[in-house]
């Protein structure tokens, strides 16, 4: 491993050992992951990269507890999630993982506040506290004045901020962002990345899944996947402000 890479010292959040994932597609068996081992500690800022077909999305689904591996072990905060059933995984997702999607995935007919409240509804928090916490999360992403706007009354960047507020609202262990700037122009994308940087500095664990080097360089650690295995796992050279940094 790259000697310049200093491991953060926090407790392990994600501990994956040799996981594989196979899909059956008609007659064919697709080996999306062929044995991935990965450890992520608290307050890491990590980007998972790779071309399409590299197993990046499959790994993200595993990390996000949306899917379980065919073989291998996955411990999340010390709990083995690889054997959990659908409802147990739902509970883990609800409490431990904040999702940020490329397409924002907001409920179109609900207000921002109601969208941000959603994870708290599934956590069974009572309405008054729910609203209070959702409002705090909206303020944290700089949208304290957009509480009652519906998604179609917001710009793309604002929508992604609402989605980030929704990801934050239940104080998850990790924030898992899948191409978070993919549907935004580059200027707005930079603003969103600044927000992630901010969240990282506040002590959050942030995982980006992206194929864009420009986005990945914001993270402190880059994991490259190719053909279902980890190709490289190294620290990102810290970029001076305004100075573009190439990956290789």
């Amino acid at each position: 491993m790259n000697p310049s890479f200093t491991r953060p010292s926090g407790p392990l959040v994600i501990d994956i050992e040799n996981i594989t994932k196979e899909y059956v597609m008609g007659e064919e068996i697709i080996h999306a992951l062929r044995g991935v081992t990965l450890q992520i500690r608290r307050n890491e800022y990590l980007a998972i990269m790779g071309p399409s077909g590299s197993g990046k999305s499959t790994l993200m689904n595993m990390l996000g507890c949306l899917d379980t591996p065919t073989s291998g072990r996955y411990d999340f905060n010390g709990k083995n999630v690889s054997e959990m059933d659908g409802d147990e995984l739902a509970a883990i997702r609800n409490r431990e993982i904040g999702f940020v999607f490329q397409t924002f995935n907001l409920l179109p007919r609900s207000t921002s506040l109601r969208n941000v409240e959603l994870p708290l509804i599934y956590a069974g928090i009572d309405p008054a506290e729910r609203e209070e916490r959702a409002e705090q999360a909206m303020i944290a992403v700089g949208l304290g004045d957009r509480l009652l706007h519906k998604p179609n009354e917001l710009s793309g960047g604002q929508r992604q901020r609402v989605a980030i507020a929704r990801a934050l609202v239940n104080n998850p262990s990790i924030i898992l962002a899948d191409e978070p700037t993919g549907n935004l122009d580059s200027k707005t994308g930079e603003e969103i990345m600044a927000l992630f940087e901010n969240l990282y500095h506040q002590g959050n664990t942030v995982i980006l899944v992206t194929h864009e080097a420009d986005i990945a360089r914001h993270a402190r650690r880059n994991v490259h996947l190719r053909d279902g295995v980890v190709e490289s796992d190294e620290a990102t050279p810290v970029a001076a402000p305004g100075e573009p940094v190439g990956m290789h």
């Binding site: 409802d87 739902a90 997702r93 609800n94 999607f101 409920l107």
Partner: protein
């Protein structure tokens, strides 16, 4: 449990928001249920009405009276078997009464002869056609529920003396004398003058077919004098204890067989009728009407339910990505199931309520248009149709909701 109520409340909110944002579609879908509930509720009301009418009519016959007649009331299929039977004679009444008096511990109380036919009745320029003319004795008051609203029934003496007096039913009095008192007036029954000595209180209709108030009661001797030619006679026998109807019937049959000197191997050549037999026949008819009616109207509700099921499937398909998002954010299977189930139930419940309002207004209109038909819009019916609506919602929602709850979050999130 608390958790379940929490989820229930949240699901209701989601359902309400969903309906509000898809107003046109929701209304069109609910329309199927509205029509279904209107049909079922109106049919229920009609059946209720028929049932009430039947019961009311039955009470006129009396549940403690046996009728000795030439034919049975209920078996109409082979009437030719009864056509050539000997006629029932009014004199049997006296003989039966003698037999009753001679029997200790008898189940029978009193026998009263009746004869009847339809004739026109006139007074001055007014006339009524097809009035039921009943000839009987003063004992008739012992077996019937009739009572005089004005005047009195004729006495034993008047009856035997062949007095030409009569008691008129409500309709007859009303048609002939239009609000004025009929007492002491002369009426012409088939041209023969009778003096009115009493009017009966209002009875209503029998099965809604004919009026029980279009009746004139006269003493039997006078009846025989003028009308006996082709009329049929009955002997009505009141029973002491109506829980012992079968015994009473056997006793009466025995008396009649002795009166007619029937050898033991011969079949009865008369019929002993009672309300119960009539009632069981009517109950069967009632049940058939109810089952057929509810089945046919139930079909319309079924069509409505299919509409709801269809729209819920469409809704699940359209919102696949939303379901994926909800699952990613921690919605459990049960939560998703509940959400869609409640959406379909809410739709049905709203449809049911609207349907009920329509049905209520229609009942109102029907009651105004046909005042004689006993329409009853009961509270039970409201509860029943609400339950039916909710069940419709649950049944039509369960399949789509189940498929939504089983969606794989990865696939659902990727769905465009």
């Amino acid at each position: 449990m608390k958790r379940f109520l929490y989820e229930l409340t949240e699901s209701w909110k989601i359902a309400a928001a969903q309906m509000a944002s898809n107003k046109t579609r929701s209304m069109l879908t609910a329309l199927g249920v509205i029509i279904g509930i209107v049909a079922v509720t109106l049919m229920g009301t009609a059946i209720n009405g028929i049932s009430t009418g039947f019961d009311k009519s039955m009470s006129v016959i009396g549940d403690d009276v046996l009728y000795v007649s030439q034919r049975p009331w209920t078996r109409m299929d082979d009437w030719w078997n009864y056509r050539d039977r000997r006629k029932i004679r009014t004199e049997y009444a006296d003989k039966i009464n003698h037999a009753i008096a001679a029997t200790p511990n008898t189940n029978l109380m009193v026998a009263v002869p009746t004869m009847s036919l339809l004739r026109s009745v006139k007074a001055g320029d007014n006339s009524v056609e097809n009035v039921f003319i009943l000839g009987t004795t003063a004992d008739y008051t012992l077996i019937s529920t009739l009572d005089c609203s004005e005047g009195r029934f004729f006495s034993e003496l008047e009856s035997r003396g062949g007095a030409e007096v009569c008691i008129v039913g409500y309709d007859v009095a009303d048609s002939l004398f239009a609000g004025r008192s009929a007492l002491k007036k002369k009426i012409l029954i088939n041209g023969h003058p009778f003096e009115v000595m009493g009017t009966l209180s209002r009875q209503g209709t029998f099965l809604g077919i004919f009026s029980l108030d279009s009746i004139v009661v006269i003493p039997l001797p006078a009846f025989k004098k003028y009308f006996s030619a082709k009329s049929e006679a009955d002997v009505r026998v009141k029973v002491r204890d109506k829980t012992q109807m079968a015994d009473a019937k056997d006793e009466l049959t025995g008396i009649m067989r002795r009166l007619r000197s029937l050898a033991p191997e011969k079949k009865d050549d008369f019929s002993v009728n009672e309300q119960q037999a009539f009632k069981s026949t009517l109950d069967a008819v009632k049940a058939t009407i109810a089952i057929a009616g509810l089945f046919i109207t139930g079909l319309s509700l079924f069509v409505g339910a299919i509409g709801i099921m269809n729209i819920t499937f469409v809704s699940v398909k359209e919102r696949t990505k939303e379901i994926g998002t909800r699952k990613a954010l921690g919605a459990r299977r049960r939560t998703i199931l509940l959400q869609f189930l409640i959406e379909s139930t809410a739709l049905c419940l709203v449809g049911g309520l609207i349907g009920l309002v329509f049905a209520y207004l229609m009942c109102f209109g029907m009651a105004a248009a046909f005042p004689s038909f006993p329409i009853r819009f009961s509270f039970e019916l409201v509860i029943a149709s609400m339950i039916v609506s909710v069940l419709t919602g649950l049944v039509s929602g369960i399949a789509p909701a189940w498929s939504a709850s089983r969606l794989d979050p990865v696939t659902a999130l990727r769905y465009e």
